[in-house]
């Protein structure tokens, strides 16, 4: 193999990188918007918590588990009709976002639930004793107290989403994964493959160290 990267169309790589970042940005945003409330509800309805509700928790928990246990690549295909309904197409950057959110939101919800569980029950009790409403407890106790755990959760989810975006190339999702599959895999252009992998790797590194730094900054323990 030569190291001239003759097959690499740098403009296309740049475009692919932008597509990946766009998919990553929007899917992370919607994953947090859906996963955070879902995680809070899972936590609140679980045993011994403020809104304990066995039936609701069991159903919600089951749905989350189902979505999490379907391999992402299959979930993506299964969701094609749903995706078309939501964004009008199952292709390109736009078509990739709904399956990414469906795949990552349940995962993030579990991470949220776990970090809320880390909060000392006594602190919630103290807020109750001061006359806090359930909404005030969520807003003023649960979220601030689990802040560093939530940031760590968002970091892990975003890194997972990086690999999911690459997978979405298989069904015509666009981005770096799409390039890697079309050129690197189907046309045996290993140099394109290497470039995309290196870019993805750098992306993950940056995201992870950014997340770690934020966690450290907000950690008060």
């Amino acid at each position: 193999m030569d190291w001239t990267f003759e097959n690499v169309d740098w403009a296309e790589i740049g475009e692919g990188t932008m597509d990946t970042l766009t998919m990553l940005g929007f899917s992370t945003l919607f994953t947090v918007l859906i996963g955070l409330p879902l995680g809070i509800i899972l936590f609140l309805t679980s045993r011994g918590q403020l809104l304990q509700n066995r039936t609701f928790y069991m159903i919600a928990s089951f749905v989350v588990n189902v979505l999490r246990s379907v391999p992402f690549i299959i979930l993506m295909i299964l969701l094609i009709p749903v995706t078309k309904m939501i964004v009008g197409t199952s292709l390109g950057v736009l078509g990739a976002i709904p399956p990414l959110v469906f795949g990552a939101a349940p995962f993030f919800a579990r991470l949220v639930e776990t970090s809320l569980r880390e909060i000392d029950k006594g602190v919630i009790e103290a807020a109750q004793s001061m006359g806090a409403s359930n909404w005030q407890i969520v807003w003023n106790v649960l979220l601030p107290e689990s802040r560093s755990g939530l940031i760590a959760g968002i970091t892990i989810t975003t890194v997972t989403l990086v690999s999911y975006t690459a997978m979405s190339g298989v069904i015509g999702g666009g981005g770096l994964g799409d390039l890697a599959i079309r050129y690197g895999y189907q046309r045996f252009q290993t140099d394109v493959m290497i470039v995309t992998v290196v870019i993805l790797l750098v992306m993950v590194q940056i995201l992870q160290s950014l997340g770690d730094r934020l966690v450290l900054k907000f950690s008060r323990k």
Binding site: A127, G131, S133
Partner: protein
């Protein structure tokens, strides 16, 4: 239990040539907190486990009421029933004239603001500074910011933490954390402060400084304090009245002095033994009794009599020879007391007379 709903008005009584002004602060009348026929049980794996089995308790405005019991006796459940962190299975919780068990969620939240609470493990917000922690209940009550700032500074001054306003709880010592807890509990100017084992996680010195602070607040603000503890020392240092809880029931209650100088229930006796060397005494008594026909008596001094030489004078007058087997001179909150176990030698009839004389002079004598 009798309960009066009317407050008695002040009245005058002519006595010994002067008019005396009376205001009846009767216990039942002025009770700020009343627990009536309180029952609480838990469902654990299909089984019903009783935690409280019929608690009737009345706590007056302005007093410090201590509840002492072993772990598992139900004291933690009991104090949590006062602000309904635990909802009793049956019974009434009347705080400041309102039965909390009958309120809806919104009204209850409002009422809880008049009941401050501090905890064994402080339960501070770890992500907020000391100042933000104290401001927290005011923020929940949606008070204006200027008012919050002013109040926070006042409270931090009261508990002696002005210099630590911007620190995080993890940077404080246990005693300081509890001071933050106290300041936070006082933010909404509550009528009652509930203390859930507030000193149990602290070392003895810090415990004393927190107890002194609680007593100070009780006096300065006239705040009613209800505390639960397993330490006799806490009760003795600051409480006015005490209830001993065992097996989900109050087995003995009354003024601290009465309950602990004359404990009746075995559990109470156990707690009293925590601060007295009763086992050694028992051995001494057994030994002395075995060695002959002697009179052993426990003499109790209360208040001013503690420091008067009544015992010595009486013995001298009656010519009785005696020796001291055990003795304590101490204080319950503000009242000095002494308790001596003495052995009288000589004729039994003569000893009986001496004991009578001691009783006439205001000492309590119990022949063991």
């Amino acid at each position: 239990m009798r309960t009066y709903t009317l407050r008695c008005s002040p009245f005058f009584v002519y006595e010994k040539g002067v008019f005396i002004f009376y205001q009846d602060y009767g216990r039942e009348v002025d009770a700020l907190i009343q627990l009536r026929h309180l029952h609480k049980s838990y469902q654990v794996q299909g089984k019903t486990i009783p935690a409280l089995t019929g608690i009737d308790l009345s706590i007056e405005q302005g007093e410090i009421y201590g509840i002492i019991g072993h772990s598992g006796a139900g004291k933690s459940t009991l104090i949590r029933c006062i602000n309904l962190l635990e909802r009793p299975t049956s019974g009434e919780v009347i705080v400041d004239g309102v039965d909390l068990t009958k309120l809806d969620e919104g009204k209850l939240q409002e009422k809880r603001r008049a009941i401050g609470m501090i905890f064994q493990h402080f339960n501070l917000l770890s992500s907020s500074t000391v100042g933000e922690n104290v401001a927290f209940p005011l923020k929940l009550a949606k008070r204006p910011k200027a008012e919050i700032d002013k109040k926070v500074n006042e409270l931090l001054k009261l508990v002696g933490l002005e210099a630590h306003k911007d620190k995080y709880p993890s940077q404080l010592s246990g005693g300081q954390k509890q001071r933050v807890g106290i300041a936070r509990a006082l933010a909404n100017d509550p009528k009652v402060l509930l203390c859930d084992e507030a000193t149990s996680a602290l070392d003895p010195q810090t415990t004393n400084s927190i107890l002194a602070l609680l007593l100070d607040i009780n006096r300065k603000l006239g705040l009613t304090i209800v505390l639960i503890t397993h330490e006799m020392h806490v009760i003795r240092s600051i409480c006015d009245r005490v209830g001993v809880i065992d097996g989900g029931k109050i087995v003995e209650s009354g003024n601290v002095l009465d309950v602990f100088l004359r404990p009746k229930h075995p559990t109470t006796q156990e707690f009293v033994e925590q601060v007295a060397d009763s086992t050694e005494l028992r051995e001494a008594v057994e030994h002395e009794k075995a060695s002959g026909n002697r009179t052993i008596a426990r003499v109790t001094f209360l208040g001013e009599k503690t420091y008067q030489p009544i015992l010595f004078q009486t013995m001298q007058e009656t010519g009785t020879v005696f020796s001291i087997l055990q003795g304590t001179i101490s204080r319950m909150k503000d009242t000095p007391y002494g308790q001596l176990v003495i052995e009288l030698e000589g004729d039994v009839a003569q000893n009986q007379k001496t004991i009578e004389t001691l009783r006439q002079r205001g000492l309590e004598v119990e022949v063991i």
